[in-house]
Subunit: 403 residues, 2 copies
């Protein structure tokens, strides 16, 4: 069971968490719990670190910011004990939860579960502080923001758990954002691949890395709310889903920006000259299209980068000196809309239906990219809600109640 920051935001909420844990124990399960810091705590600690030293030593950053999970792990163990449930806390270094020494975004290397397994066999609830580990030079490491999801999945895999329940402030994974489409439905099940596409496209229910890890280790995930008692969404292998939908969900990502290079000289290796410097500068290029002029001598190149990296990308292109182009244009007022579903593998015509629906609404598609289970288009940001609602209806995702 993993509980996020809003679920452990204060002692009253920690008591609610403890009652959920107690219920699982009463149902005969062995339970390990992973907790985040109280909501707001990590932000405060990060702010202090940045104020103390703008160019901070990541080892000291990790020492400071990992303290939030230490507090909630201890408090949850105490609250459980007070309810008559045997429990003890573990910090990353006590497990030990071994990681690489890339402080601030460490990779998990090895989890020694011997102590915990012995306690679980004695019916003791194991409460682990999320987000943190220990490097081989005995310093505290952290896994990056949102890393507690990854801690939980990694622990579930190491303990060979039957399930990893991620309690959060939403009731599960929806066919799309309910704030935009009131008819959005909660999915009973979703595949890892679909969840990965959802997560990376801005449906921030689970950290992408934790989903990839769950997929690789076959950990059955459940996303559910710590504030209601309704069942959540199970994230599982494709073969566990009997009746596959062609399309499972519509996702959107607002934090994209489009860059267009007009009149690029079309010489061999030009793509490498453009995207090489961007890769070296750690700018993530997502969608790419290229139009070649009639005579084949000039080309227009359009691609997307994270909105936050636009200026950096422009600077890298302008200063690299290897690329000749007539004009550089950028546009932040774009949104990426994606139709996602493992059913697309066996069903054709999804793309055509998507493009048609958008055309009917008068929405111009600027860039297209596809994967096996996803079709994404870049459109003007102002059409976001209109496009998501239209596609949600067209692909039969509207709930019966509200349809």
């Amino acid at each position: 069971m993993k509980f996020g920051g809003t679920s452990v935001a204060n002692l009253d909420r920690i008591r609610i968490v403890a009652r959920r844990v107690k219920n699982e124990v009463a149902a005969g399960h062995s339970v390990a719990v992973v907790v985040s810091a109280m909501a707001g705590t990590t932000d405060q600690l990060v702010k202090w670190v940045e104020e103390a030293s703008p160019l901070h030593d990541a080892r000291e950053y990790d020492t400071v910011v990992s303290s939030g999970e230490q507090v909630t792990a201890g408090l949850l163990a105490l609250t459980l004990q007070n309810m008559g449930v045997s429990a003890r806390s573990w910090l990353g270094w006590q497990v030990p939860f071994r990681t690489s020494n890339i402080h601030g975004s460490a990779r998990i290397e090895d989890i020694d579960t011997r102590q915990m397994i012995s306690r679980l066999e004695d019916n003791i609830v194991c409460v682990m502080a999320g987000f943190q580990g220990i490097s081989d030079d005995n310093r505290i490491t952290t896994l990056g923001r949102g890393g507690s999801d990854t801690s939980a999945v990694a622990l579930a895999a190491a303990l060979d758990a039957d399930r990893c329940d991620i309690y959060t402030d939403v009731e599960g994974v929806y066919t799309t954002d309910p704030r935009i489409v009131p008819a959005a439905r909660k999915l009973e099940k979703i595949t890892y691949e679909e969840m990965l596409e959802m997560a990376s496209l801005g449906a921030k229910v689970l950290q992408t890395r934790s989903v990839a890890m769950a997929m690789n280790h076959g950990v059955r995930l459940q996303v559910l709310s710590s504030f209601t008692d309704r069942p959540g969404t199970l994230v599982v292998d494709e073969d566990e889903i009997v009746e596959k939908q062609v399309v499972s969900g519509i996702a959107y990502a607002r934090n994209e920006a489009k860059i267009t290079l007009v009149g690029v000289e079309n010489t061999p290796g030009i793509a490498g000259k453009i995207f090489g410097p961007l890769a070296d500068g750690h700018v993530n290029v997502d969608m790419i299209i290229q139009n070649i002029s009639e005579d084949g001598k000039k080309t227009d190149l359009t691609f997307t980068v994270p909105e936050a990296d636009v200026d950096k990308a422009k600077q890298l292109l302008e200063t690299s000196g290897h690329v000749k182009y007539a004009k550089l244009m950028s546009d932040k007022d774009v949104v990426k809309i994606s139709v996602i579903g493992v059913g697309m593998r066996s069903h054709t015509g999804v793309a055509a239906r998507m493009f048609e629906s958008l055309a009917e609404k008068g929405i111009n598609i600027q860039v297209i990219s596809t994967s096996e289970i996803k079709i994404s288009v870049l459109i003007a940001a102002e059409y976001n809600e209109l496009a998501v609602r239209a596609l949600h209806t067209v692909f039969g995702l509207d709930s019966d109640e509200d349809a």
Copy 2:
């Protein structure tokens, strides 16, 4: 250098601390620093623990409350780095700072200073989180409230430091409480023994345990303010003090209470029957007097206990059943006044002068106790200020400026 909670209460104060450390480094010294948690943090953490579980597991208590020092240790290391001073933080378990497993009030057993010494040789400032250690079963321990003073003295002893500077919010040790006697003087030097009596008598500048440890290991202590640049008070061996004052200071303790048993049957072993149950109940008995009636068959017994333990003491005496007495009386409106000075060893007449001065002011002495370097009397609480001021003047402690 040890900095208490008010000295690291926020980032601005941590910067002041860092500048002090930087100055010491610039003067050519190798510096290890011990920090407390930000003022108020430990109180908040203790409150959460008590709310989570009134009868709390001390191991989880230690896990939670030790997090405050973790934050300040990291932030001070970062602030030093930002000022161009090489620094790194150490938590108790990283040193390792080994203690007994009496959680909440652990005893220090062994400090492995090899890593720190190697860093100090490389001119790196070592910042250690105070108050915390690690037990032999790999759990975080704490040394009890105010334990960072003890951490600092223990580390100074282990590193064989030339001096241990305790920065606090007062400028040093005074001849008495300046809030009561404006003419109180800051002492340039004081002996360990005197400081021990001062500390245990309510002059809360240093944790008693840290003074005893400094005395046992010959660590030269300095108490000084982190808010001014004036020299503080050195706590040293008696032979370092050339011109010894007969009396160094006047201390008072308000948290005492008096219990009187009237008409106790005066049989052999009666003292054991009275004080045995109190000792078993962990009630600390301080001053004791006994008056025997003329026929020798009855005795009145008066003694003092900490104010907080009066009810417990009464209950223990009433229920023990071994002691027969006519009446039990208790009085919380008392104060213990002490005249302290190593010079008393070689000077007589201090007690007589003390009793005379109090008599002159019309103050009735209820109980007296003495040690080699201290004379204490119990008086009615309302005479506290009057008595302290009178004794401060009589023993020549008033400062020249204000006298």
